[in-house]
């Protein structure tokens, strides 16, 4: 009976997936996605393999470094699965629109909890696991372990995913049951803060700067001791790494204590989640369903703020932006993302503040300017990621209310331009902030500051335009959660195009900039280096502005022709 109910729940998911991706996505798109994924995974494999081979050839500490790297990977995977499952289980177990329908059916609440729990873990882990495959394959190729390594690898990785997943579900169940009915949907606010703490702890726990800074230890033995000491030894991710590492070196045929601990923890956490579900899930579900109709008054402060922010825009455009701002700040799943953004900026800037530049054997000015240039790329990638989360879905977020805009005299062109400028202003300010603060930490010279600032403004222009363009070309007006939009095909293509653009612009400017540095330190006497740099910046400007206008235009045309919403 339970099996039949679980089967039905999985069937709903399977069929929705097939209908969404296999029936409505055309084959060309599917093949393109498959090839691109394969290429990306292959690149990760090659990169990891190079790192591992380099570590392996390093005497004394190479093996420790490889193990530490594996520990970091598993720690990050474990952390991501916990947080991600908190999010997906909140959606699947408490917020999803079909819960009323399912709850009204004779399906048992236990089956609903287990079935939706497994679906939540799958949702939160499949992509993480996909990226884990090339990393672990690199270990396999580099160390050539025996067959039992692969058996343990699959078994233990699966256990870790389930432990992380069920931990996430338990946290969600406890949070929901602890909150009053009207606040259940505000759980995401708390989640934002939890995620901030997880990011911070993960980062500080790993202390990556220490790995490349042996001078901070009193002697070699101290450094080796740091490398070999298991950080976060009480976490399952560390147990899994211990077992795998023994297995890689051929000594893991018997079941060890960390392995037993992993299996027992999984069993314990599963049983705990079932007990909790019996006592708390029904209560939480009722709360969540009741909380749907809660009353909430509109805020005057938000009204005032949104009017101030939209002053520079024409009336019709301004009205759209006022609406967008209000919708953003009234939706807890939206504004809480700003907390994550805060965490990201903090970690990013912190990275630059702890860089041990003065201990580098390379010339200080050369290193500073090179890092500043790399920083340009990193900032652009952050803007690109933010574009995927905030800019790309801005068209889809009109949702099924898009009929109002489409039937109003406000043209699609005006709508798209309003959204473009609004996001461009915010993201260009943010990119400049990130770049300037990190450049100040790097103490770069004035010319590099001007060059990187100009380039990042141009790149932000193109990135925002590409995000809006693809958002118009692949809008999803009917969605259960915004995750459906930001993980869709259009978002994937957007990330691909914006990444290519960033790399292309950096490559164009890198050569002339390098010539200037080399000339500056007296190694070369090449003439016309400044002219070359100006030409390269002009080329970058043409590419960014040209591609920006191209994708905006394409997006407008595409959105004008969309009739199904």
């Amino acid at each position: 009976m339970y099996c039949a109910e679980l089967k039905t729940l999985f069937w709903i998911r399977k069929q929705s997936f097939l209908n969404r991706y296999m029936v409505s996505t055309n084959k060309k798109k599917f093949v393109f996605m498959a090839i691109t994924t394969f290429v990306v995974l292959s690149l990760i494999l090659i990169m990891c393999l190079r790192v591992l081979i380099h570590f392996k050839s390093t005497p004394l500490i190479g093996d420790y470094l490889s193990k530490q790297l594996l520990s970091m990977v598993y720690l990050v995977v474990f952390g991501m699965i916990i947080f991600s499952t908190i999010n997906t289980s909140l959606m699947n177990l408490y917020i999803s629109k079909d819960l009323e329908f399912l709850h009204a059916s004779p399906i048992r609440i236990d089956s609903l909890f287990v079935g939706r729990g497994i679906i939540s873990i799958f949702d939160s882990s499949w992509m993480v696991l996909l990226f884990l495959v090339p990393i672990l394959s690199a270990y396999g190729i580099a160390y050539m372990p025996e067959a039992h390594f692969y058996v343990k690898l699959i078994l233990l990785s699966l256990c870790l995913v389930l432990i992380g997943g069920y931990t996430g579900i338990i946290i969600t169940t406890l949070l929901v049951s602890a909150l009053p009915a009207k606040r259940v949907r505000d759980v995401v606010v708390i989640l934002g803060i939890v995620f901030f703490i997880i990011v911070y702890l993960l980062f500080r726990t790993m202390r990556p700067e220490q790995l490349v800074n042996p001078d901070s230890f009193t002697d070699v033995a101290d450094y080796l001791s740091y490398l070999s000491s298991p950080y976060m030894a009480a976490l399952p991710s560390r147990w899994v790494v211990e077992v795998l590492w023994d297995s890689i070196h051929g000594s893991g045929r018997v079941i060890s204590i960390p392995e037993l601990l992993t299996y027992n923890t999984l069993l314990l956490i599963f049983v705990l989640s079932i007990i909790l579900s019996r006592h708390l899930y029904r209560l939480g579900l009722f709360k969540a369903l009741e909380g749907r109709g809660r009353h909430q008054k509109a805020g005057k402060v938000l009204e005032f703020l949104s009017k101030i922010v939209t002053v520079p825009y024409p009336k019709e455009m301004g009205s759209i932006l006022i609406k967008d701002i209000k919708l953003f700040f009234r939706d807890n799943t939206q504004w809480t993302q700003l907390l994550l953004l805060g965490a990201l900026i903090f970690v990013y800037i912190y990275n630059f503040s702890v860089l041990p530049l003065h201990k580098s054997p390379v010339r200080m000015d050369f290193l500073q300017n090179t890092l500043a240039f790399l920083n340009l790329g990193l900032t652009s990638f952050i803007i690109s990621a933010l574009g995927a989360r905030f800019v790309y879905p801005s068209i889809s977020m009109e949702g099924e209310g898009f009929w109002l805009l489409k039937s109003s005299p406000l043209g699609v062109k005006q709508l798209v331009i309003a959204k473009f400028f609004f996001h461009y202003m915010i993201l260009s300010a943010l990119s400049l902030l990130l770049l300037t603060i990190s450049n100040v930490f790097l103490n770069v010279d004035k010319s590099t500051m001007i060059l990187t600032s100009t380039t990042v403004i141009l790149l932000t222009f193109a990135i925002v335009a590409i995000a809006i363009g693809f958002g118009c070309m692949y809008p999803v007006f009917r969605y259960e959660s915004l995750t459906n939009v930001v993980t869709g095909f259009g978002a994937f293509i957007y990330m691909l195009f914006s990444s290519i653009l960033i790399v292309l612009c950096i490559v164009i400017e890198a050569g002339p900039l390098y010539s200037i540095f080399v000339k500056g330190i007296g190694i070369s006497k090449e003439e016309g280096v400044i002219t070359n740099l100006i030409i390269s910046v002009l080329i970058v400007a043409v590419i960014c502005i040209g591609s920006g206008f191209y994708f905006l235009r394409k997006g407008i045309l595409s959105l004008e022709n969309i009739e199904d919403f």
């Binding site: 109709g293 809660r294 009353h295 909430q296 008054k297 509109a298 009336k315 019709e316 301004g318 009205s319 759209i320 006022i322 609406k323 209000k326 919708l327 009234r330 939706d331 949702g399 099924e400 209310g401 009929w403 109002l404 805009l405 489409k406 039937s407 109003s408 005299p409 406000l410 043209g411 022709n561 009739e563």
Partner: protein, 240 residues
């Protein structure tokens, strides 16, 4: 006022609207009847500029909608069948948004008008609540209110009474009759033959994308003397 000339709409191999020709004068309350999937909503979406016809021409107030869509839209009021709104806006904010979208200033006289309609549709107390707290019927009433406030020359309405309580239904009927008396044109799609028979001055029947009947209501009743009601005529023409 409204003219559709050989309008066809295809969705890959499916023909949703097939060679539809229709002409409506000002001051008409036109009932657009048809069974499920006949092409009523598709026709309406083409009329309000949400969809483009595969073939044919649509003119509203003498303007070709494909060429002067913004001007046409400014004169139209559209009430869709499903009241999808921005759930995190309040009712008052939604009205304000629609007015701004249509380039209308919120002057004192308009504010009185807003209050009048909000009161009329029992939304005054709810105007500062988020739309997500509204019932289906309240959302429908809010859309009707937002359109009536603008006082458009033409109202295009898709299944207007779905979700409305009897009091609101009576109110909408009275308002529509009153508007038509003042020279406005209403294009109303509906499943309800009783509603069409009761309030429409002209009726069109669409079946499998083709217009199979179009005339004044009393003329239709005269032409089908053997039939007791419009419902019988509807069933005869759609079931054969």
């Amino acid at each position: 006022m409204i003219e559709l000339d050989s309008v066809t709409k295809r969705f890959s191999s499916v023909v949703a609207v097939d060679d539809l020709t229709l002409k409506l004068k000002a001051g008409t309350l036109f009932g657009f009847l048809g069974p499920n999937g006949a092409g009523k909503t598709t026709t309406i979406k083409m009329l309000v500029g949400i969809m483009k016809p595969t073939r044919g021409r649509i003119e509203v107030l003498g303007m070709d909608i494909s060429k002067r869509s913004q001007e046409v839209k400014r004169c139209l009021g559209y009430i869709p069948d499903r009241p999808y709104l921005y759930e995190k806006l309040t009712g008052a904010e939604f009205i304000s948004l629609t007015l701004r979208l249509y380039g209308i200033r919120e002057e004192v006289s308009l504010k009185e008008r807003i209050d009048y309609y909000l009161e009329l549709f029992s939304l005054a107390e709810w105007k500062d609540e988020l739309i997500e707290n509204y019932s289906h019927g309240m959302k429908q009433r809010l859309i009707v209110t937002s359109v009536l406030i603008r006082d458009p020359k033409i109202i295009i309405v898709d299944e207007p009474m779905v979700g409305l309580d009897p009091i609101a239904v009576r109110m909408v009927k009275d308002i529509f009759r009153d508007l038509v008396k003042k020279g406005k044109t209403i294009f109303m799609s509906t499943h309800s033959v009783y509603l069409a028979e009761e309030i429409c001055s002209e009726i069109g029947l669409i079946h499998k994308g083709r217009l199979v009947l179009k005339d004044k209501t009393e003329e239709i009743m005269k032409s089908f003397k053997e039939m007791k009601s419009l419902e019988d005529i509807f069933i005869k023409l759609t079931l054969g």
